[in-house]
């Protein structure tokens, strides 16, 4: 075991897979010699060479198309989109092309591509760096979307994503890159995609979260405990497909749910999760399922992040509403 930040765990996962499988290629804008704008690919080009870890011209759509073509030649591409706000440039390559390849080829061609990309607020980035756009990809059949919240999960989920033979978007929350360290085994291990984890057990209310909101939910749960409310915190880890079994098990125990996301209320995944719960467990609910989400405006100017981003106080407020319904 080693103590790693999430970014170190990600680098470790990339190194592991570059070593394991010669078809793994890591590339993007400044991921080579520079080691990535967040140092996620630090040292990898030196270790594996310019044929395996390389820079690309500055064009996200081109990077997407390059990935599709390399996958057609039997490679296992792990491209990076520097910030996920830039995904609009590559939307056709991702949702219009690689997501559909297996289906449109009648199952004859796969796309084992893992697109890594940072996102997320709280670090005062300039425009279109922090936007939560996971909902756009999660709505595309053929895609999987993974969002880790801890160093341990990041490594295991990234290794699984790279080994998956279908395309995965792997979103890395910028605020979680270096905010804390966690135990990460040095050897390789995997975490199944599509499996949530109960990060804290509780019996009074279920908080379903992903990304940075997992930590806000855990903090809210600590505060709520002081008031005698035991909150169970589920970290989805994969937001498409979602782990409906883990969610339902918890709902049947607590009978009250709040879904927490950083994205705007009209975006993200919360609505989908709520719909699934009401279809499958309405008789287990003591109160409506409520949402914690950002306001439905464009992502905040950086100085307004504190008042705009959802935080643990917003979660406590919603929990009190469902508990006192």
């Amino acid at each position: 075991m080693a103590q790693m930040t999430m970014i170190q765990a990600i680098t470790d996962a990339l190194r592991t897979e570059l070593k394991n499988d010669e078809n793994v290629l890591v590339y993007g804008e400044d991921v080579g010699k520079n080691g990535g704008v967040f140092r996620a690919t630090e040292g990898l080009q030196d270790e594996f060479g310019e044929e395996r870890v390389f820079d690309t011209p500055l064009a996200e759509s081109g990077i997407g198309g390059l990935s599709i073509g390399l996958a057609l030649q039997g490679y296992r591409p792990v491209p990076e989109i520097q910030f996920f706000g830039f995904v609009y440039e590559a939307m056709d390559a991702i949702n219009g092309q690689m997501a559909r390849m297996r289906y449109r080829s009648g199952g004859t061609k796969g796309q084992p591509v893992t697109i890594r990309s940072p996102f997320g607020g709280g670090v005062h980035t300039p425009e279109l760096h922090a936007d939560s756009l996971e909902g756009l990809i999660a709505q595309q059949p053929g895609m999987k979307v993974v969002i880790p919240s801890t160093p341990y999960d990041a490594k295991g989920l990234l290794i699984s994503s790279i080994r998956d033979n279908d395309p995965v978007v792997f979103l890395e929350h910028m605020k979680l890159y270096r905010s804390f360290r966690g135990e990460v085994p040095e050897e390789e291990y995997t975490i199944d995609l599509g499996k949530a984890e109960v990060k804290r057990e509780g019996s009074d209310v279920t908080l379903i979260a992903y990304g940075a909101m997992v930590h806000s939910s855990l903090k809210a749960a600590e505060e709520l405990e002081k008031d005698g409310i035991q909150a169970e915190v589920i970290d989805l880890r994969t937001i498409m497909p979602i782990d409906i079994d883990t969610i339902l098990e918890s709902v049947k125990k607590t009978n009250r749910v709040v879904v927490v996301q950083e994205a705007q209320r009209q975006a993200g995944m919360a609505s989908h999760i709520i719909a699934e719960i009401q279809e499958r467990a309405i008789l287990h609910l003591e109160a409506p399922v409520l949402r914690v989400a950002a306001p439905d405006t464009v992502y905040a100017f950086s100085q307004a992040e504190e008042v705009w981003l959802p935080n643990y106080n917003d979660i406590i407020e919603r929990v009190n509403q469902v508990v006192n319904f």
């Binding site: 044929e51 081109g62 198309g65 030649q73 080829s105």
Partner: protein
Amino acid sequence: MKRTLENIENQFETFQILNEDGEIINEDLMPDLSDDELKELMHRMVYTRILDQRSIALNRQGRLGFYAPTAGQEASQLGTHYALEKEDFILPAYRDVPQLIWHGLPLYQAFLFSRGHYHGNQMPEGVNALSPQIIIGAQYTQAAGVALGMKRRGKKSVAITYTGDGGTSQGDFYEGINFAGAYQAPAIFVVQNNQFAISVPVEQQTAAKTLAQKAVAAGIEGIQVDGMDVLAVYAATKEARQRAVDGEGPTLIETLTYRYGPHTMAGDDPTRYRTENMDNEWEKRDPLVRFRSFLEKKGLWSEEEENKVIEQAKEEIKAAIKKADEQPKQKVTDLIKNMYEELPSHLEEQLEEYSEKESK
């Protein structure tokens, strides 16, 4: 500034070998093709012209679906294809079904593609190609990736991709040629300039005098070819292929061509935007007429031979349509199973739901 532009444009003169009367005007550049190969080229062009005529008729009878006519473009489509090897990978656009057929896609599957059946897109083992791309430009960035993959694998093969004149305005067109250039990847980018993107003439796509000169922006070789001259198209592609497998990077080939029919069979009416004069002008340049008179002068082609090809084409088309008719209907469960290698839980649920419906 004007002088610079002129200097650039002067470097993209139209490359031609065979004139409209079927005479060789550029003997030095005549490709090295045997008599049998020359006849095979003619065979393919005649066959493809018949395929176009029959496809239009079958579409009108409702026995085919989406169809983008190809008549007029035989030299451009088949001349480029004839310069390829089996191991080369084709990334076609929606009009480039003939290249797929001559690369090995069975005709009945091409018809299933037209109708909208997934089996039409299941390339047989060893047919190195994607099914026709509908998103104009997407095939270009993907071709850069296929070509880079071939280079990294040390293969002596190329990726070839096609778009139209309108497609050169897309961002992906430029990104594709630029990526291939930056990596010196073995790609051949073909622009089939058939003068119109649906109703919009090429003059409204760009102020550039040629489309071939767009290669300059990527720092790669560019050539403009008479796209109605199958020998010139073949020679240009052959040379581009050689450069690519020799590690000298990609080439952009503009073929000047024309589609005699509408954009697609989905209600486009060319009389709204094309003059009869223009149609006549381009019909004089018909690639079949020109190549036929070239071969006849060499004693390599006769009416009898042509009629044999026509009969063969008609019979094979008939058999292929019959085989397409016999293909089992698609079920929702088929579509679900083709989504992922391992189905996620929500699709497992839906698979069960539709299996039950289908068993009733």
